[in-house]
Symmetry: C2
DNA sequence: ACTGATATTTATGAAGACAAATAACCCAAC
DNA sequence: GTTGGGTTATTTGTCTTCATAAATATCAGT
């Protein structure tokens, strides 16, 4: 799986490399969500000095994967339902606008590229008739291309540079290989159509509905599961 | 002028204090936009070690006031017209959504508080019949309260914690004490009304129009000024 | 046995020293 | 005069060490 994104330039310094390793460990849940981070411990584990580790921690803080309190230390963010819903709200706003801008600013080549990508995904989806690939990779790819298509550095940095990994973390932690694959495919298709038509208003509306639908899907699952038992996390959402 | 915002807890460590000082210096233009940052130089100037300064630089990077390249160094972001417009686009998306959420989530007390604030600003505006105060402080206060009213930690962190200072920087650098004060007041008033009516959809729409109007105002100024001469920055927008 | 204060330990914040990479400079050759 | 290579100098990245604040454990007193 492609773990890196084109926005963050590839790691050259050791702090960068360790950052990516810890990032991966957090996203995949190897370092559990909500746990305290021991600077001396992690530094020893990765065979680096504490100052280098702290440099890495700063990057992690930048993309909201850890939180720091002065004179106390760092914790991995804990994945709460509320946090997940708030993240979706934010995505709806940002990606909606990104989609509108994409409709205005994407080049014809970029649009053609996205259309072929969608076709590839379509075939792959039919072939595997499993849903995992499409949602896991294809969905992210789609959203990614739209965001980059906005040609808005501010939006790209915020979504791809910061929220992206948090989204992936929630996906992993909650085991969300959403069951909405086939519907999502249609929605993606219509969004691209709107972009191709250079209809920014429609493109934004469709993208927002697309994300809002995912959010409501989650809210429904919660409404079903939560009353019967008070378990709050893992496997709650999974189809 | 109130320089701090309620979201970032007050500085306890020296790195925090230096961070705030440099932040202020950048926002006010004392450290010119686009200039390279000398780590040894700044460390000496603030009488701290380089490692402490680097800690401060990391915070500055977090709120997009400086940019770092590996093995090369840090630069203050340069304020371009494109950057300003992109920032407005992003604000429109985020604050629009924040406004919608505020209409859903604000308590009655918070709403009443905002209404009295608006009245105070109204009187102050009439009294001074100058526009500076309202725009400089009142406008930010208004937007601030709306964002906090969303009760969405993600949105609050993104806008108040990160974009806020960048917005202030652009305001200072471009000398924008916008001439839209009276119109802005009416718009603010209608937005609060929509929030009080718990009409999220309308609240978002009005907020987006409010921000978009500012953006278009700037675009018009540019369209007027740019053809006649190629000067790109300072005083370009000022009424 | 339980509470509260003190002492010990541990972890974080800050400073200084070293190594590696980049940028600046100077001189030679075309 | 301009271009290319090599050397010097500066800057950044990393490590080590010290100081300070928080957390824990210990012990006395009730």
């Amino acid at each position: 799986m492609k773990t890196n994104n084109p926005t963050q330039q590839q790691a050259v310094t050791t702090a960068d490399k360790v950052f990516e390793q810890i990032q991966h460990a957090i996203v995949e849940g190897e370092i559990p969500s909500g746990s305290k981070i021991s600077e001396p411990g992690l530094a020893k584990h990765y065979q680096i000095s504490r100052s280098t580790l702290r440099e890495a921690l700063n990057r992690l803080e930048k993309c909201h994967l850890i939180e720091r309190k002065a004179n106390v230390g760092s914790r991995v963010v804990d994945c709460s339902i509320e946090g997940l819903l708030e993240l979706y709200i934010t995505r709806e706003a940002l990606e909606g606008m990104a989609c509108r801008q994409a409709a205005l600013n994407m080049s014809d080549e970029e649009i053609a590229d996205m259309q072929t990508m969608l076709n590839v995904h379509s075939q792959t989806q039919e072939l595997k008739d499993g849903v995992a690939y499409y949602q896991e990779e294809g969905d992210l790819d789609f959203h990614y291309k739209v965001i980059l298509g906005s040609h808005n550095k501010q939006l790209i940095e915020l979504i791809c540079g910061q929220l992206y990994h948090l989204i992936r973390m929630y996906r992993c932690q909650f085991g969300m290989n959403s069951p909405r694959a086939s519907r999502a495919f249609d929605e993606h298709s219509r969004i691209i159509q709107a972009i191709a038509d250079r209809d920014g208003e429609l493109a934004e509306m469709l993208m927002r509905r697309h994300i809002a639908a995912s959010r409501k899907n989650i809210e429904n699952k919660i409404a079903q599961e939560l009353p019967q038992k008070e378990k709050t996390k893992v496997q709650l959402i999974k189809s």
